[in-house]
Symmetry: C2
Subunit: 204 residues, 2 copies
């Protein structure tokens, strides 16, 4: 199993967490995103999106972190990342997608670079953009998250695997987390779990 | 079943397509997004994200179009929107998420308004932004899509339900579609299906 990866990519970090939680061995290949290594022809043959992560597994080449996590859950079901019950599953996916669709796509490197290089925005404007979208998404999550140690209840699930990387990122951009005490408590609790700690990028 | 909706919202349009394909009756409540009706307290009680769509179904209140579609598929399985086989499922989700994570979040109304109002960008810069991200995502999809009448093969699935709204949107912003012949053929074929046609916003 080969994970095409970048340490600071939130989406890659989600997959590293899930691989660790499931105890799966994998080889890691890293791409310097700022240098554009993910646009090299060799990598585009693996993932035509030119984005990380991509996972090579069982002869498949798969992009999109949530598609990868769902596939791993189907093929290596223990411990489960996405609940089987339709209602619990819908609730978990609603939270995971709040991060994966409403926060992260707006705040990843290619967007911040476009704001800077193509729209001529300065660092302060880029930081304000970043915090605007993360705060909107975190406000939603603060209401959706359960009153439990993990987003997944008594054990971490796909929501924790999305939340911890987004929180690392939010801290990197000095987001004020005081309005989100439940979210912060869950993210910090999950981040201390060995499977999460081993997946983490360098400390801030 | 109540769908909280906005005709031009791509994410709502996805859910309308799936409800039609499954032959489910629903009541539609519309929100004027430009006027901010989705931020009214009554609606925030339904969906704390303050976004459309949200679906009230079987006592649940669910946000996030893909979570809604996955729930509907679990509870009303015919016709299937997301394949059951893990590999086919992963392939379908990779394509659906390419639209739902890599294209649509960058191009929906709240983002275009932020570019205009908060970053002082003119219409030409906003249109260039729009087309930049839709073209990047469509280039990926052009390679991932099957050589088949629908993205789902012989019948439409979740990918078609994401693709047709994104295509409507791309045409609204006058995107050049000549580099994407396979994608355009699939999207046009699916758009002509009665379940898709009935879900469509007003013609461009």
């Amino acid at each position: 199993m080969i994970l095409h990866d970048f340490a600071l990519s939130s989406a890659s970090y989600r997959v590293r967490i899930v691989l660790n939680l499931k105890g799966l061995d994998y080889e890691k290949r890293s791409y310097a995103l700022r240098a554009g290594e993910q646009r090299a022809p060799d990598y585009l043959a693996v993932n035509p999106a030119g984005l990380v992560p991509a996972l090579e597994v069982n002869g498949l080449r798969l992009g999109q972190s949530l598609a990868i996590i769902e596939y791993l859950d189907a093929v290596y079901p223990e411990p489960r990342m996405i609940p089987a019950d339709p209602i619990e599953r819908a609730r978990a996916m609603e939270m995971a997608l709040t991060i994966a669709c409403d926060i992260h796509p707006l705040n990843n490197l290619r967007i911040l670079k476009y704001l800077e290089n193509d729209l001529g925005q300065d660092q302060a404007a880029v930081d304000t953009w970043y915090r605007h979208w993360v705060e909107a998404g975190f406000a939603t999550l603060e209401q959706l998250l359960p009153d439990a140690p993990y987003a997944g209840g008594d054990a971490p699930n796909v929501v924790d695997a999305c939340l911890v990387p987004q929180m690392y990122n939010a801290r990197r951009f000095k987001t004020d987390l005081t309005p989100f005490p439940r979210l912060a408590a869950i993210a910090d609790h999950a981040a201390a779990h060995p499977a999460f700690a081993t997946a983490a990028p360098p400390p801030l």
